[in-house]
């Protein structure tokens, strides 16, 4: 009796172990890599899928207008955005624009079922939510390699080749806007290079809204080459450009001429309750102040 029970346990554990291993297998070892496609309708479909999730927004709380960053008191620029919730109708055009601007890859079915999409903008109760580029960013404080790092221009930057995928930053971000590449999108044919200016990210790398850093960098280099003072006038993020209602305004918080400073004048400035007190650069506008 004892003997047979032992045998049974042996066989059962072997079978279970085998099944577990089979479940963990990397797809590409068993099936040929699917052909990469840059058909935009695939991304559009995925965005629709992502927008069907019910992600709670949480409360919005009023904050003061973002000012100079305490970390970089001498800088004359701090870029950011304001999303006017009185105008935004949650259509999701910004998500597609962001995806195409930043070569954001799709995810496989397994990840999609878990609701883990790579889009840097997420619709939460019809409100677009992306990284707020906190002035006092908790994500940067826990990065063991310095891949998540503050930029003097007001962005919370990501230096992809430095990222070792510890995911501490994602765990410490109160607004949960960081996205981790669980899968090798290139090997699975899920990524496409829509914009040659932006590198594709590897598996095991964290990513998030970059405030379209490539556009700011290009503009800065041009201004410096021409010997002009750089205030980022004229630069727009991809999401701001794509919004059919012009609900997203991109600009420089420290420049009173900037469209951003103009747009927030007299308006109520809000942020997610979870990042209240972290000095975000991306804010929401609701009603009059």
């Amino acid at each position: 009796m004892d003997q047979s029970r032992r045998d049974f346990l042996k066989v059962a554990s072997l079978v279970l172990g085998g099944l577990a291993l089979w479940g963990c297998r990397r797809n590409k070892n068993f099936s040929p890599a699917p052909k990469a496609s840059s058909d935009i309708s695939l991304w559009k479909f995925e965005i629709k899928q992502a927008m069907r999730r019910n992600i709670p927004l949480g409360d919005l709380v009023p904050i003061k207008i973002p000012g100079p960053l305490p970390k970089f008191p001498k800088e004359i620029n701090r870029f950011g955005m304001a999303i006017d919730l009185d105008i935004c109708n949650g259509c999701g055009e910004c998500i597609l624009a962001c995806v195409l601007e930043n070569n954001i890859s799709r995810v496989n079915d397994c990840e999609a079922q878990k609701g883990r999409f790579m889009h840097w903008i997420e619709m939460r109760e019809g409100v677009p939510v992306m990284c707020s580029h906190c002035g006092d960013a908790p994500c940067e404080k826990v990065c063991p390699t310095g891949a998540a790092v503050a930029s003097p221009d007001g962005m919370s930057a990501m230096i992809y080749p430095r990222c070792i995928g510890s995911r501490y930053c994602g765990a410490n971000c109160p607004s949960k806007t960081r996205k981790f590449n669980y899968t090798d999108a290139r090997a699975e044919g899920l990524s496409a290079k829509f914009n040659p200016e932006v590198p594709l990210r590897n598996r095991g790398v964290m990513e998030k809204c970059s405030l379209c850093v490539q556009r700011l960098q290009n503009d800065r280099l041009l201004a410096k080459t021409l010997g002009k003072e750089w205030r980022g006038m004229g630069v727009q993020s991809a999401c701001a450009m794509a919004c059919p209602k012009k609900a997203i305004v991109f600009g420089n918080w420290l420049d009173s001429e900037s469209p951003l400073s103009q747009a927030v004048r007299g308006r109520g400035i809000y942020t997610l309750k979870s990042i209240q007190g972290l000095d975000p650069s991306v804010v929401y506008l609701v009603g009059r102040a």
Binding site: S151, L221, T225
Partner: protein, 171 residues
């Protein structure tokens, strides 16, 4: 015993690497089917005194320094410029050359930006990164490590200090 074997292996590997380097770094040539002619930076730059940006347009203001097309060569070489014996050889090579005789792939990785214009504006000469004309003619290509960028940006190489914030060059 094991150590000797390893040493032998490493030695062979090293020799292979050096050989490969010698074999592949042959300088710039106008290459077409049978007619190949070396392009001399020495002759065009040092002797005639052409500025690098004359052929590598974009280096002064733009993001990238470009390579000349065959048309650009022909702008000057349509008529024989000297009575040097090499001219007929050059003419026949140019006649059969491809429209874009030089093709290069940038060595700057996709996550790094290097803007030529902004460096030119800061009075950093091409030679600082690309080496002397003689070195270029021998086939040297600029290969700059991030540490070298940083040393210069920190002001350790005799130029004014520049930005050292990650997101100024990385994306």
């Amino acid at each position: 015993m094991k150590g000797t074997l390893l040493l032998c292996f490493l030695g062979c590997f090293g020799i292979a690497l050096i050989a490969a380097d010698l074999f592949f770094s042959t300088g710039d040539v106008i290459a077409s089917k049978n007619k190949t002619i070396a392009f001399s930076h020495e002759l065009h730059g040092a002797n005639i005194g052409l500025d690098c940006t004359h052929c590598h347009t974009g280096a002064r203001l733009g993001y990238k320094a470009h390579f000349p097309s065959k048309q650009d060569c022909l702008d000057c070489h349509r008529l024989p410029l000297t009575d040097s014996a090499g001219i007929p050889k050059l003419d026949s090579a140019l006649q059969v050359a491809k429209a874009m005789p030089w093709q290069t792939e940038s060595r700057v990785p996709a996550h790094v930006i290097f803007h030529h214009g902004v460096h030119a504006k800061a009075n950093i000469s091409c030679e600082t990164c690309h080496g002397s004309i003689a070195e270029i003619d021998r086939g040297k290509r600029a290969s700059v490590k991030m540490g070298e960028c940083l040393a210069c940006h920190r002001g350790e190489k005799g130029f004014a200090p520049a930005a050292t914030d990650c997101a100024r060059c990385h994306r």
